[in-house]
């Protein structure tokens, strides 16, 4: 009987269900954003935990991050169809993390070009099998190699896409959140889509370089933006004020880790002591902080 129940459970698993509707708001003329609450990716949320959206031009639509599951990608596609009759011409992946790319497959059709950082394809190749291998167990979604779609257009430094009287400036950043971060600037509304280069409420996650991220923060901080879209967190209208908590977190992490390295302390000691008071400032602190310390330590011990 137990086994029969298990099969029933399998039949009603997430992958066989219709895509639930996604909430979107038009945050600026032609810019549609779905913001997610902050969760650890799991079998209940299926990894649908990132902010995703799209920008509508006079000619066509650019998707920015396709979602954390094929279902969320399909829901995003359905939403676009309700908003506009214009076709999707670009799917821009801001980086390799599964919560930003697993919806790609919903847009795979002639006329759609996938766009990413010049290191995105390599990151997909080296991480893809690992992500795919655990998706069924951890996220309760069915994905395979077809769901990992490398970019047709690779951005080396900077590139401008025109979606019809609307220019999107793409910037490939040096290693920061990951080694393949791409941001999208909409000239029309002075909006920058920073994706996971900016975290609010959700603890920043380092999967690239803490030094690189801090220097990108310093550079971006000087720019003027009317709106900033983070990968996790609410829409920002007070740039650069909303950047400060992330900057402070990464700065103090780097300072404390450097001090421990100087004192001859080990990675294990750093992981158990560095930065713990910051817990009150961030959601998902327990899940990511020690990983951040680990990555920062492994990077900064090679500094001198």
């Amino acid at each position: 009987m137990k086994f029969v129940l298990l099969i029933m459970g399998l039949l009603t698993s997430y992958s066989s269900m219709a895509a639930p509707p996604l909430s979107f708001s038009q945050v600026a003329p032609g810019i549609y954003l779905h913001t997610s609450a902050h969760h650890w990716p799991d079998r209940d949320n299926h990894g649908e935990i990132a902010n995703i959206g799209f920008i509508v031009g006079e000619r066509c639509v650019a998707v920015i991050d396709s979602g954390g599951s094929p279902q969320q990608g399909a829901a995003l596609r359905n939403t676009i169809r309700q908003v506009t009759a214009k076709p999707v011409c670009y799917v821009i992946n801001t980086h390799v993390h599964p919560d930003h790319i697993y919806g790609n497959i919903a847009f795979k059709e002639p006329g759609v070009q996938f766009v990413g950082h010049h290191k995105l394809a390599r990151a997909m190749a080296t991480r893809g099998d690992h992500y795919l291998g655990r998706a069924a167990e951890l996220l309760d979604i069915q994905v395979n190699h077809d769901n990992i779609i490398p970019p047709d257009i690779e951005v080396n430094d900077s590139m401008t896409l025109n979606i019809g009287n609307r220019e999107l400036v793409l910037t490939a950043h040096p290693s920061a959140h990951t080694d393949n971060d791409l941001s999208v600037y909409d000239k029309t509304t002075e909006t920058i889509w920073l994706a996971d280069l900016l975290f609010l409420e959700h603890i920043p996650v380092i999967d690239g370089s803490i030094k690189g991220w801090l220097s990108e923060i310093e550079r971006l901080e000087k720019n003027h933006y009317k709106l900033v879209v983070p990968g996790h967190g609410h829409l920002v209208k007070d740039w650069p004020a909303s950047l400060q908590p992330q900057k402070a977190y990464l700065n103090s992490l780097a300072t404390e880790v450097r001090a421990m390295i100087k004192q001859g302390k080990t990675l294990e000691q750093a992981v158990n002591t560095v930065g713990l008071p910051a817990k009150k400032n961030w959601q998902l602190f327990e899940q990511f902080h020690r990983k951040n310390v680990t990555i920062a330590f492994a990077e900064l011990e090679w500094e001198d």
Binding site: L6, R122, H130, P150, D179, G208, L267, A298, W302
Partner: protein, 277 residues
């Protein structure tokens, strides 16, 4: 048994292992590792010779700190000859084989490894009396956006071969001194998706490491892709007088991530450090 029930039963058997969260098991050990590395040997599961430390939750599966501590100092009469490390459920479970000497002072070893999934980490020690003992720790590799690769391989590649020794201040002559050896190397696993063929699938990792003090052996290691990028080892040696601590290592590139049949030799590297107790 009726046929439909039989089919469901079989299907359930196939699904169950993926759902059940087991706290480690000895399947890989019993079916593969034991016969491959210790055929005919009697191995006692015990903490009398070595202890193994590893975090229950691997915060970053690319960098999991693991530590083996010996229960006695190395002496001519009684010493640990070798320690093997395995991550059972990794695609290539063998982490390394580490040879120690009476001159090592203490057969302790701390290092960083890659842990692909929920797995036991296993340490086997051979003492100079020819006995084997084994201890293990279960580690939950973190999920989410983490992968057991390394965050910035280009940086590691840029400084490839760079070596650092770190010693505590105030080391004493004749006493075991803790040293840290850091090697910059991306230690590429070669685990990549097949269809993206524009990338090299070959692994590229440090395979042999030899540490000596005044030309006397301290640590000899045969290692593999489960060692994290930028390999990092902490171990002891005995500085009986001033002298030269030296690390020599080679790297290798193999066609398959999980077979060592077809490999090409890479570079040889060497770095010395002057010690004055």
């Amino acid at each position: 048994m009726h046929k439909p029930y039989n089919a469901i039963f079989l299907l359930a058997l196939m699904i169950l292992p993926a759902i059940a969260v087991a706290e480690g098991d000895d399947i890989t050990w019993n079916t593969v590792l034991k016969s491959q590395f210790f055929a005919g040997k009697n191995i006692e599961e015990s903490n009398a010779v070595i202890d193994l430390d590893a975090p229950y939750r691997a915060e970053d599966p690319a960098i999991v700190p693991v530590k083996v501590s010996s229960k006695f100092a190395q002496s001519k009469d009684k010493y640990i000859k070798k320690i093997w490390l395995f991550v059972d459920k990794n695609p290539f479970p063998f982490v390394g084989e580490f040879e120690f000497f009476p001159e090592s002072g203490k057969a302790d070893l701390a290092l960083r490894v890659r842990v692909n999934t929920y797995s036991d980490i296993r340490a086997v020690a051979e003492t100079n009396d020819g006995k084997f003992s084994m201890t293990k720790k279960f580690v939950k590799a973190s999920g989410g956006c983490s992968a057991p690769i390394g965050a910035d391989l280009d940086e590691a590649m840029k400084r490839l071969g760079k070596v650092k020794f770190r010693l505590d201040d105030g080391i004493q002559s004749g006493q075991p001194a803790l040293t840290q050896l850091m090697i910059s190397h991306p230690n590429l696993t070669g685990m990549q998706m097949d269809q993206m063929t524009r990338f090299i699938r070959k692994s590229h990792f440090i395979d042999q490491l030899k540490v000596t003090f005044n030309d006397k052996p301290v640590l000899n290691a045969k290692i593999d892709i489960a060692i994290s990028a930028d390999p990092n080892f902490r171990f002891y040696f005995v500085p009986d007088k001033a002298g030269e601590l030296k690390a020599e290592f080679t790297d290798v590139s193999c066609e398959s991530p999980t077979s060592r049949n077809v490999c090409n030799k890479g570079g040889s590297y060497s770095q010395s450090y002057t010690v004055s107790p």
